[in-house]
Point group: C2
C-alpha cells in the first residue's frame, strides 16, 4: 500500500535517500548533514537501521572506504530503484506538505480572514 500516511513516517527514509542521491555519504556524517538542513532530530541509533532498510529494499548500496583518522566508513550510493522511489516520495511530500500548510493557514474554504 502506498498510503500517504506512510510518507509521514518515512520522512527520514526519504531524507536519507535524498542526501545519498546528492552525494554518497556514510551514517555518521549524515547525522551532521541533517542538522545543517534544519533537521536535528536524528541520532545514530535511528540512522543505521534506516540505512539497512533502504539497502534491503534495493534503493541504495553500501561499500567500505578506508578512513584516515578512524575505522573504515560505510558509504552508501543510490541505485536506480532508489532514484525512482525518491521522485515518488518527493512528489507525495509536496502533496502532504501543501495539505498540512493549507490546514495550518485556515484552509482553502475557511479563509485566513474568517
Amino acid at each position: 500500500m502506498e498510503h500517504s500516511s506512510q510518507l509521514l513516517k518515512g520522512v527520514l527514509d526519504m531524507c536519507l535517500l535524498a542526501l545519498i542521491a546528492e552525494d554518497p555519504s556514510y551514517g555518521y556524517e549524515m547525522a551532521s548533514k541533517l542538522e545543517q538542513r534544519g533537521l536535528e532530530l536524528v541520532s545514530e541509533g535511528t540512522i543505521y537501521p534506516l540505512l539497512s532498510r533502504l539497502q534491503k529494499k534495493g534503493y541504495i548500496e553500501g561499500y567500505f572506504v578506508e578512513s584516515a583518522g578512524g575505522p573504515p566508513r560505510k558509504y552508501y550510493r543510490i541505485l536506480p530503484d532508489g532514484s525512482d522511489r525518491l521522485s515518488r516520495w518527493a512528489h507525495e511530500w509536496q502533496t502532504v506538505s501543501n495539505g498540512v500548510g493549507a490546514i495550518l493557514n485556515g484552509g482553502p474554504n475557511g479563509g485566513s480572514r474568517g
Copy 2:
C-alpha cells in the same frame, strides 16, 4: 522532551488541533475536512484516540451536541493551552517542512547544479 521528530509523528495531532482551532468540530466530520485539505489518510479509528489524547493533555475540551439525524455529536473546542501548542507546532512544522524541502532540492550548500 520537545524533539522535532515528535512533530513528524504528531502531524495528525497538529492537523486536528488546527481544524478545531478554526471551528469547533467533531471526529466524524474531521475525517471529511482532512480529505478536503488533501490528507485522505485518516480513518475514524485513528482520529478518536487522537482526540482523546489531545483532551487528556488539556489542549481541547469536548462537549456533546444533539444531532437531528443521528446520535449526539461530540464537538471539541480549543483551549488556551491548545492554542499555544498549535502556534509552536506550526512553527516547528515550518522549520521541518523547509528543511525537508531543502534536502529534496539539493540543499542550500549543495546546489541543484552540484
